[in-house]
Amino acid sequence: MAQTENPSRDRILGRIHAGLRTVIPEPAATRSDRIIFEPINDPLKRFQQECVANLMECTLTGDCAASAGQLSKVLQSLPDGEAFLQDHPSLRRLIELAVPERAVRWSTQGSPAEASQATITLAEALIAQTGSILVTASCGGRGASVIAPCHIVYATAAQLVPDLASALGRLSQQRSLDRNSFACVISGSSRTADIEKILVQGAHGPRRLVVILQTGGY
């Protein structure tokens, strides 16, 4: 790919280099072992607590059939309109069991339609500390977690990690960002407090973020 013409690049780097020649004596390294975040003993419990605080819906299910039942229930509560799904064997199986009474579009067919009522994806991980789901472009693309008013995540308890440090560590170790141009830590439904600091749920992104958390494996 042709490189951009960058007339000031060297000049700026030169200025930075010159500026940094002024060495500022750094104070003694305070590499302390002070614990910044309270260690998490029960990640599942913490995740559920954070979901409540984040105005997310999290339902525990035992197996695929129960998860499908939960998915049905959520879909039935939504207005008519297409559902978009990440094309993955687990979701193919799930939707077969759930039998949605609506049109379904798979990620292999393209991005979600603007008028979609729901998107259904997997996640890369669940983060207990902040009640978050971690998605990447591999989870049905970028639009999958933001275009529809309801985003449903089908996850397993094995995907739960305690904190941001472990989630980000995993992204680094697996070099996920070499293969994915996008990742996102999502911690709730979209919201704003721009009017008089009053919290409004459902701004430009989904108003509902639903996590179907299956305690058994897929």
């Binding site: 960058n6 975040f37 603007e114």
Partner: protein, 472 residues
Amino acid sequence: MSTTAAQRFLRDAAEKSADLVHRDLIRRGMESYDAAHLAGRARIKDWEAARQKCQEIKREAINHLDRYLLQFEEKVIARGGHVFWAADSEEACTYVKNLATRLGVRTVVKSKSMVTEEIHLSPALEKVGIKVWETDFGEYIVQLRDEPPYHIVTPAMHLNRGQIAKLFREKVDPKIDSDDPAYLMGAARRKLRQAFFAAEMGISGANFLVADAGVIAISTNEGNGRLCTSVPRIHVVVTGIEKVIPRLEDLAVLWPVLATSGTGQGITTYSTLIGGPRQPGEVDGPEEFHVVLVDNGRSQLLADPEQREVLHCIRCGACLNICPVFRHVGGHTYGTTYPGPIGSVLTPHLAGIKEFKHLSYASSLCGACTSVCPVKIDLHHHLLQNRRNATEAGATKSSERLMFRAWRSIMLHPRMYALGGWSMRNALRIIYGLGLAGSILDPMRVWNRHRSPVPLPSESFRARWRKGLGAN
């Protein structure tokens, strides 16, 4: 004759200081933030350790800025992205403008970026016929009002719901008949959704540039930043060069600290990482990805050993929120892209000390800003340094310089000082006795405008000491 920035500031500050309705609205907003912020801090086991860690991360990043910027650039380019280094506002705007016109862009959707305000990007694009939609709800509101953001995190906090409803009725939809915040957000959502799906280009800022992963990090709550960077076929990031951090793992503490200091949340709803255009095999995403790295005076600040740490700022807004001056004059009075303590410290470096030194003086140096800064920037002491820099650059009034020279002479001679004090007290007594308090003859007339006169004792302490108090 046009007014200077300092004159405009004094005029606006006088008006806003007297506006108690404004004061009470801002106080309510800030106290709501205070409560949320304290609750947020309680979620972090050791807040001081968190601040310490964030300071260390930013210090490492800034002290090796060239290395980390190059690492970031290499990875972005490897994914097919473009990186453009802009020396100043003009270069940055020209690049984006040329890109947009070359690619036939007619509509742009923008998520919040203070740097784009700094470089005046929107007017540059509008001048060549491109329609720019601010999509952050608060930014959208102030764009409709044709005014700058009031605050770097909550741009419309100076408006109440009634004003916003009226604005929407006039500019968005004449059928608007409620001032309920959810209803108004719904109206904005419908309007802006059309823009998201029609725009050819999305412009965002970046909260962080992660060097080892070669990704930008954007923290938003509304999802507008997500849509700007997912739907349009071109994504342009405009960011200051100082936003770099060394490692992805640094976000484990920076994200919670940014959210806590910014809004009191544990983490912002969408903490997004983007490293390039859509990759082969990805479902969607922009075809082109451009990162514009803006210098605009930052590399100069880097060379200042005293104030280099000002580049650590993560733009959380906490210093604005706690500042009593901000709470009394509001964000617009500053007349700069960045208001509040960080703005007062930074603006002379980005835009000139002569024109903006007054901001460093418009502070009581209470130090509240420094006490809340999550990256431990010594803000109020930097204001003091800016004052010293202003006098040393000869940028202060000569009458003031002369006055302090005279003051110094007096203070070096105890008898002159004692005589001076005695004379001043007696002169004031005569002036007040003649009913001339507040007149042009009253050296304390500025004081007396808003306060009852200072006490005028008949004897100084040292006189009493000499007269016998000194005997133990």
